[in-house]
Subunit: 504 residues, 2 copies
């Protein structure tokens, strides 16, 4: 048995043994238990699973202090931030309870038999059914919201799919504690054994993705990690769905009017956003396009001033810290790149990162500069004219977000930027900062490769859609149909003969 | 230039040069033209594209006689069947016009700013936007409904995505004629140049899938062909979506009551279904589970009688004919497999297939027997008891359909079969035959791998969903938003602050 040991990022010292790497036979046992649980979880129905999700939220909240303390020790993200993260996760679990009760997500449709230009049409009734067991890969940077608890777990359970989580090695004790809390709450609300499982270790994660019982994978992590899992999936006799959130630069455009009107505000907002959580957000604004000239200078100067006064920050783990040091040095040394500001010196303890603001020109934009980097670093690119701005935008990789900071009432340039960026992002912000992703019905946290590789992702109510598939009953007797498709049911929105009807 | 030559299946003789294989530069030119057309096709809006789709249907119908004649010569499917296929395609094009006008497919959602347990939430507005150019691979077996015209092309254009079709080599003249008709109609209704393109040849198809401008692939064909395209996609720097419909056995269960009540009807229905279109339907019932004993014997005897009187049929092309001959010989010679009936002798001309009915037992079920085979062949598997039936069902690969033929008012066994098969199929039929797939709102034509690899497929109104992606505007001024997300718009169903509202 190989020990899994947590490391304290503030000191770099081991905390203790949190778990053991999961043996292949145990991975198989958990996957098969999940498969066995699937029909029972489905039969709990929408009401039963809504109660389950609320019980999970209650369970996490009851252990809030312990969870936040353990997570803070393993991640150094701070108790304030972690407290908020847990609140978000509980909110999301309860929101999926609402989603289940509302019932639109089933997309129930009934077509009565009749004639059509194609000839006679039979009785057809369709709704979504659960996909089966889902493997969820926890991310390092959100130990409570994209990890053992989080959007993937909440949405998969809501859909009626058992979950086996691959715990992230960066916070094994947090993962274990959260898992124990969730498993206890699940048992307490009558969920079948096998509804939740957890594995530790990279080999265990690979084994999980390869296991025949697993029907889909939810992953938040690096492009490299995503590719590794995709290769395992391609080798399955039955390739399954992979929902990956991989990499995002999140470019920000500051228009000339915006720079002129509110340089100081913008500088404060941008530095706050790219140093939030030590710059370890997938929505971190990594590249900012600022006009050349005095108005733009004022923004850059204010940003530099702020960064120069920022203390060194603690990163999540040694891998991220090493990469950050390498990237900081590499980018600073590139031709045409200038260091505008460097934050406070490191104290010499733990996984420290010195905040860094770099500037360059559109002419010097290279693929290295437009990659996503974790950590408190941003690159400002100065543009001389709108034409140069558009040249730069065309070189942006696809991202989760793109942002326009505009002048009061300005619409022409923001619209032009918006049209240019629509194919390269999934969320377009105006006069706001991309970090901070509210969980709502209209939220979308995705974008073309490499930001994500799927239509729906782990944030927002549409996350549930990933773990369902349509199923149609033809000429089925009422006794065989799910309740939602029977003639007299009126509890959810349904499409009857092509016409959408609200409940009641 | 390499000529693409059509072959007449009834004689095996070449018809003449239908096209040339498309050179790599021309593939690139078409993909780039599609990319350039994309924003203009999007700007035509729902109304403009609905008119486009109806114009395409009108165009095809105006040339119906020519199209059917050319397709019949290249496919030998018969003018009656091809006439129906064209009707279906035109119906589908017009149905997508209705889908656009109805507007639910956009999933428009507006969340107003406010407070939440997570803290303040911004103004968020989401709807689906087109993915960009789509590569569509025509299938051999539906020259008018899953080829140049068909569900992929109709749904991609409806979504606002330009289409480049890879013509199937089995009916190049039909492909060319349909393309010319569609391209002319598209121009006539104001669609931008580049809205439709066509390529011929396997290399051209591969080049299309690899081209950076292509954002998704729609494919109906073999597992081998699907894997080949998936390998190309995996090697792209930005892997794209692949929507494949690959292989389907479509098992049918005849319950003991059904066999007792209506042996002759069932036999006629089954033989009609598995020999329809010379057994070249993806929904062909390839395997039938029939009870052992006298009642089941009556079904099998009646099927055998019908097959023995069936004349040899003409297959689509030499590859299918060669495979059919090999498979017929191979399956007939397997241990435990008996030839119940063989159809009329071949006339010795063209790509002929002798209809074949084989029988075996659950004990002799092997993976070779549960594979999909094109052509007028079915395997009957006799089961001695319900427990044996369930053993057999657990060995079925995933299919597009599963069918239960039951006794009058019978529900217990049909329900048990239905629960067993839900994870292995996408459509479950009762007292009906799986060939014949109506295009409606509640239809689903998909299932777990290897039948399909995606949530939505090319049949039915949800086909449009494959070529869209969600996009969220945060804090956007009204001037920047699409009309459907503006405050005062009421023309389509929208979700406002989590609540679904109908138009008006």
């Amino acid at each position: 048995m190989v020990d899994v040991v947590g490391i304290e990022p503030r000191t770099g010292e081991p905390i203790g043994v949190a778990a053991q790497e999961t043996a292949p036979e145990e991975v198989a046992r958990l996957a098969e238990a999940a498969l066995a649980a699937a029909p029972h979880l489905d039969r709990m129905g929408r009401t039963g699973r809504a109660a389950l999700l609320r019980a999970l939220a209650d369970g996490l909240e009851a252990e809030r202090d312990d969870i936040v303390a353990v997570a803070d020790r393993e991640t150094a993200l701070g108790t304030g931030r972690l407290d908020g993260e847990l609140t978000r996760t509980c909110y999301q679990l309860r929101l999926f309870g609402d989603v289940l009760e509302e019932g639109s997500y089933l997309e129930a449709a009934v077509d009565h038999p009749g004639d059509s230009p194609m000839g006679p049409v039979p009785d057809l009734r369709r709704m979504f059914v659960p996909l089966g067991p889902v493997a969820v890969f926890g991310a390092s940077n959100f130990p409570l919201a994209f990890s053992v608890p989080g959007g993937d777990t909440a949405s998969a359970l809501a859909a009626g799919c058992p979950v086996v989580v691959k715990a992230h090695g960066s916070h094994p004790a947090t993962s274990r504690l959260c898992f124990e809390v969730l498993a206890r709450a699940a048992r307490g609300s009558g969920a079948p054994e096998g509804t939740l499982g957890i594995v530790h270790g990279q080999q265990a994660g690979a084994g999980l993705v390869a296991h025949p019982a697993i029907r889909a994978v939810g992953f938040t992590g690096s492009v490299t990690g995503g590719h590794a899992l995709l290769r395992i999936i391609e080798q399955r006799p039955d390739p399954i769905s992979f929902f990956g959130e991989l990499s995002s630069l999140n470019p920000v455009v500051v228009t000339p009017s915006a720079a002129r009107e509110r340089a100081a505000d913008i500088a404060a907002g941008l530095v706050g956003s790219f140093t939030l959580g030590a710059g370890q957000f997938c929505t971190k604004p990594g590249l900012v396009l600022i006009p050349a000239g005095a108005d733009g200078d004022a923004v850059v100067d204010a940003m530099a001033e702020s960064v120069a006064h920022a203390p060194a920050q603690i990163l999540l783990n040694e891998g991220i810290a090493t990469a950050y040091a390498r990237v900081s040095a590499g980018l600073s040394g590139r031709p045409g790149v200038r260091t505008a500001a460097r934050g406070g010196d490191p104290a010499g303890k733990g996984f420290e990162a010195v905040p860094l603001l770099l500037t360059t020109s559109v002419a010097d934009l290279s693929p290295e500069i437009t990659e996503e980097y974790f950590g408190p670093l941003a690159v400002v690119v100065r543009y001389a004219a709108e034409s140069e701005l558009f040249v730069a935008l065309d070189r942006m990789p696809s991202s989760l977000t793109a942002t326009v900071l505009r002048g009061t009432g300005e619409t022409a340039l923001p619209l032009a930027v918006s049209e240019r960026m629509r194919c390269r992002a999934g969320r377009l912000l105006f006069d706001a900062y991309p970090t901070g992703v509210a969980v709502t019905w209209a939220q979308h946290h995705g974008g073309p490769w490499p930001s994500t590789n799927s239509q729906h992702t782990s944030v927002g109510t549409s996350a549930i859609r990933r773990f369902l598939r349509p199923f149609t009953w033809q000429n089925a007797p009422q006794e065989v149909l799910p309740e939602e498709l029977t003639d007299d049911y009126r509890g959810i929105p349904r499409r009857i003969d092509g016409q959408l009807h609200l409940p009641g």
